[in-house]
Amino acid sequence: MDLNPPPPLALGVPPRRAALARAIVIEGRSDVRARLCAMLEAAGASLAEVADVDEAIALADRGEVELILCGVSDGGEVLRTIAARRMASRPSGPWALVAVSPEEVGGPSLLDELQDLADDFLPMPISTGWLGARLRLYGRMGAYVSRMQAQRAALKRYQDEAEEEQRIASYLISRLEGRDSLAERMMHAWVSPAHHLSGDVVAVARSPDDRINVLLADGTGHGLAAAISVLPVSEVFHRMTDRGFDIASIVTEMNRKLRSCMPADRFVACTAASIDMRERVIELWNGGCPPVMLLGADGSLERVWRSRHMALGILDGKDFDSSVERCAYREESQLMVVSDGLSEALGADGKHRFGDRELLEAVRGPADQRLERVVHGLHDFTGGRPLEDDASILLVDCLLEPLSELVVEPETPAHAQARGRGSHWALEMRLGPAQLRKITLAPFVSGLVEQLGIPRRLRSNVFCMLSELLANALDYGVLGMDPVILEQENGRERFREDRAQRLAALVSGSLWFKAVVEPSGGGEFLQVEIEDSGGGFDIESVEARLSRLKGRGAVRRGRGLELVRSVCDTLRFDQDGRRVVAVIALSRPV
């Protein structure tokens, strides 16, 4: 933006010797006009010659003269015309209209009327010295007015540009935020921007395996700069959730992106979480946000996740910690994430802030209307004073079954068509060590499910089946990992590290994969075969171990074999566990 404001005004300190105003004299009677001109020239004024009133106003509006001196020997006729023209063309130029007369004309009634039309009166006779002083004053006033007008124009231009930028930014931001109506049914959110644009972003999105991912991001400061800085965060969140990445990978990518594009003093506080309603487990990463709370059905506090990490965009990749905290839930609960604009909202007493105590007080009671209770509680606390910072509250339902099993989603026409006649296909591929070292299973599988036109209601089942079986074949087959590690203390972390090391060192082994969609008996079936180069496993002992774990009431192990079995019509292992065949009905015989 090109904004060169005029020099600041110094109204209280006039220049020592201002230039005399440049003037135009308008007077119908030539003898009076000649006398006026002579007096003005004697006082040192520079006079401009004009043909008529139009030219006089045009010259004045262009700022070439500061003064139109108008004689009133005609009873004020011309002065009325000029005044009317000036009224009609606001804003007019920085010039003054001064009534002048070398002798007494008209009565008090004319003087009364002219007072409303002219800016000043120059009574005559007047000494040359006094006239010069007056002309100098007009010159100075003209300069002030033109500077003020220039400043006003610059401010107006600045305001227009700022508003236009905000309008475009709001539009862009609203478009960049993905919309998933099913996921949004679980979300209850309130965002209160301190300025037109919010530096807080809240979002939910559904992953291909029906997890609900949750985001609250709070950019440094507020307004446009903050709103821009949270954009990449929101974009990465939606894109990577769509492709099935886990929270640790998502926050790592967000941090990398912000670190590469933000100045050192800008960062984004962020909470990202994943709610797996099949397993009833929440994974959460909190970097720089106030404590995140899990609320029971009656609003009681079940669990707190304090900020364990630095905000996004501060640490280099090597120092960045993406580790998440996991927590299981047993009853229907709500995850509550707030930004610091809420927890630091100042009370009506000007001393206390809307802390955890106030927040927990407001959420107590049934989940219904909980958000409204917090907003009202906040309003009462602050006495209705506007908040200093962007503030937001995000409540997300943690249900006991995945949403897609509770709600039947309409299938889009495109997918129904894709599965119409002639949609039977087969796909076969073999992945060697080079491909296996590089592949990330979740986006690979979600891409397959998307591209192959699997009906929407079955996508999460197909995604679960494919990703679990491929992960099993890779981890326990090709890489030879031992699942027993997972049951030990810190097993998850150890498993992950061990797996990463083996994968990086992989030089032999392969994974073969075939998917076929075929009609059978009036229905349509997806059959998947996976074979790996590993040593196989004893399916019976694995299943025995699983039921032992379940019997001990340990973790609710939805994942793994049990989950795959629950989503498949048939599941069969052969070749000592090196090969698996799974079938899911896409449509059943009528």
Binding site: G221, D265, A269, M310, D389
Partner: protein, 101 residues
Amino acid sequence: MQTQVSVINERARIALSGRFDFNAHRTFKSAYEGQIKSNEVSAIEIDLGNVEYLDSAALGMLLLLRDQASSAHKTVILTNCRGVVQQILDIANFKKLFTIQ
């Protein structure tokens, strides 16, 4: 926000008082810039004892100071963090980047 600077034994102590927020940008910068350039200073202490409140812009200023100090091979120490200031630094996990005493 007001600042008061004193240097003892190569340690520049910048005591802040009032609200440390976006409006304090210039004041804060001019308080530490000279210390970063100075050859007689090896550590910069930011005394937050009399700070009533700090916002995310203030955290950003501290990060900027840390960046500039570390390129000049100087350390930054935050001292006398109490109450709400301590809470905000905790949530931001600044203990991972700064020495806090």
